[in-house]
């Protein structure tokens, strides 16, 4: 893989990973609602997931910058 392509594929991977994390959070939210959580707490849950999503995003960026393969070198 050309080194110039590395940032591009990392961005694609981050998008995919964040999609997975987003789906996971959505699943947790739906489960919580199914278990009887009132609708009015949905907003709080969304905020918490957004903050946790930011944490996950930061981690994914750091992880891929450090460990994504450099095949051309």
């Amino acid at each position: 893989m050309e080194s110039s392509l590395r940032p591009v594929v990392m961005i694609v991977e981050i998008i995919v990973l964040m999609g997975v994390i987003g789906s996971l959070f959505l699943g947790v939210k739906l489960t919580a609602l199914d278990f009887g959580m009132e609708e009015k707490y949905k907003r709080f849950l969304c905020w918490v997931f957004m903050i946790m999503g930011c944490l996950a995003l930061v981690f994914f960026i750091a992880h891929l910058v450090t460990f994504y393969p450099r095949l051309s070198t």
Binding site: G36, F44, F59
Partner: protein
């Protein structure tokens, strides 16, 4: 039981300013974490000699604050002290936020947070004779219990609240005693090793948790223009001074025992060495002596500002207590070769304050602050305001959003 609760409106300029400031500092903290992940832990001041730096100090500090706060919520929900009901929900929520902050601290200290799942592979990948593995059960369970407890409070299921309250107190005590045991059971670290550490940690947790709760309650009630009965804070301050005395006695006993010959070098080094100012100024001065002077003073102890100053000193001082345990405790050389100095391993370690660590550590605090603020805006944590005087309706954060949002508990 007749008290109603509401969330804050969260539309004032002050709220947004605070929110933006906390977000910016959290973002800076995130960026510093990225730097530490990419470059390695040495940018946080840690080394082979001092592997536990600021993230672990913050973690045990947050665990203490959280456990203390949760135990205090039980005054209402378990022991039936109705006068503390206005702050009980806030105490439970604060406990959850703080344990979340502690988990973030642990994740940052791991260096490779993606491997944190291994912490929860009990009996499979973990050595269950290790205090770290035992504490994994305690921390994970504590977070879940806290969330279920808060859920029960919001659902107004009184039987379940009482049951969860009892479980939460016991678990919170175990959590902090377990954290103390991590240190107290390490026989090779003379500054850590002590059978009294679990109890010392539990008392320190209650002291710091109570002090932080008092600050949070006064700040939030003032910011949202709620009527705070000052007697509530004064009664908590009386509890605080008793707990400080108990903690000071425990620390005194611990240090005196360690000072007794023949293995006293490590404690003498702690009390007189390069980190001694943290012990004497922050731990002894800020956490014990100054707050006790204020809280036993006939004038200052009945003045809200005086009590708040004492609470601030305690919160800072207990952080100093954590720091003066973690860093000097690991900096003192291991007794691998008794009676000899063997190269670098015979020298005490040094802990440099680095820029990355200096910005990352406040990021953990601001992230917890951000979550707390989000909770205040979206959850019914604060008691409903008394009717505002004429001509001041709708001003300030305390304006109630809607009557149906207020809940009885």
């Amino acid at each position: 039981m007749g008290l109603t609760f509401s969330k804050i409106e969260g539309k004032s300029k002050e709220f947004y300013t605070l929110f933006i400031l906390l977000s910016i500092f959290s973002l800076i903290g995130f960026i510093c974490f990225m730097v530490s992940y990419i470059s390695g832990h040495h940018v946080l001041g840690s080394s082979s000699i001092i592997p536990w730096g600021m993230p672990i100090t913050i973690t045990i500090y947050f665990i203490g604050l959280s456990a203390g706060s949760l135990i205090l919520s039980s005054l209402t929900y378990v022991f039936g002290k109705e006068e503390y009901r206005p702050i009980a929900r806030l105490a439970v929520f604060l406990a959850i936020v703080l344990i979340f902050g502690a988990m973030i601290g642990i994740a940052l200290d791991l260096g490779r947070p993606e491997k944190s799942w291994r912490l929860f592979m009990f009996f499979v990948l973990n050595n269950m004779r290790s205090m770290f593995a035992v504490n994994g059960i305690l921390y994970g369970g504590y977070f879940l219990i806290g969330v279920v407890y808060l859920g029960a409070i919001f659902a107004e299921n009184y039987k379940f609240i009482k049951l969860m309250g009892k479980i939460a107190i016991g678990w919170a005590a175990l959590v902090h005693m377990g954290t103390g045991a991590i240190f107290g059971f390490i026989a090779t670290r003379p500054i850590f090793f002590s059978p009294i550490k679990p109890f010392e940690f539990l008392t320190a947790a209650m002291v710091s948790g109570l002090a932080l709760l008092m600050i949070a309650v006064v700040a939030v009630f003032k910011f949202t223009k709620r009527d705070l009965k000052q007697e509530l804070i004064f009664s908590l301050s009386r509890l605080l001074r008793i707990l400080i005395v108990v903690l000071a006695v425990m620390v005194l006993v611990d240090k005196l025992t360690h000072l007794y010959s023949p293995h006293r070098e490590a404690t003498v080094w702690l009390l007189t060495g390069p980190y001694s100012w943290i012990f004497w100024l922050l731990q002894v001065g800020f956490a014990y002596i100054l707050p006790l002077i204020i809280l036993f003073h006939p004038g200052y102890s009945k003045n809200l500002k005086g009590v708040m100053v004492a609470a601030f000193l305690v919160v800072i001082g207990i952080f100093g207590e954590r720091f003066s345990l973690v860093v000097p405790g690991t900096a003192y050389p291991l007794p691998l070769y008794p009676g000899k100095i063997e190269g670098i391993w015979g020298m005490a370690g040094s802990f440099p304050i680095t820029p990355v660590e200096s910005f990352m550590s406040p990021g953990i605090f601001t992230l917890a602050g951000l979550l707390f603020l989000v909770g205040l805006k979206n959850l019914e944590l604060l008691p409903v305001l008394p009717p505002p005087p004429q001509g001041t309706e709708g001003k300030g954060e305390g304006a109630q959003p809607a009557p149906e949002a207020a809940k009885k508990t």
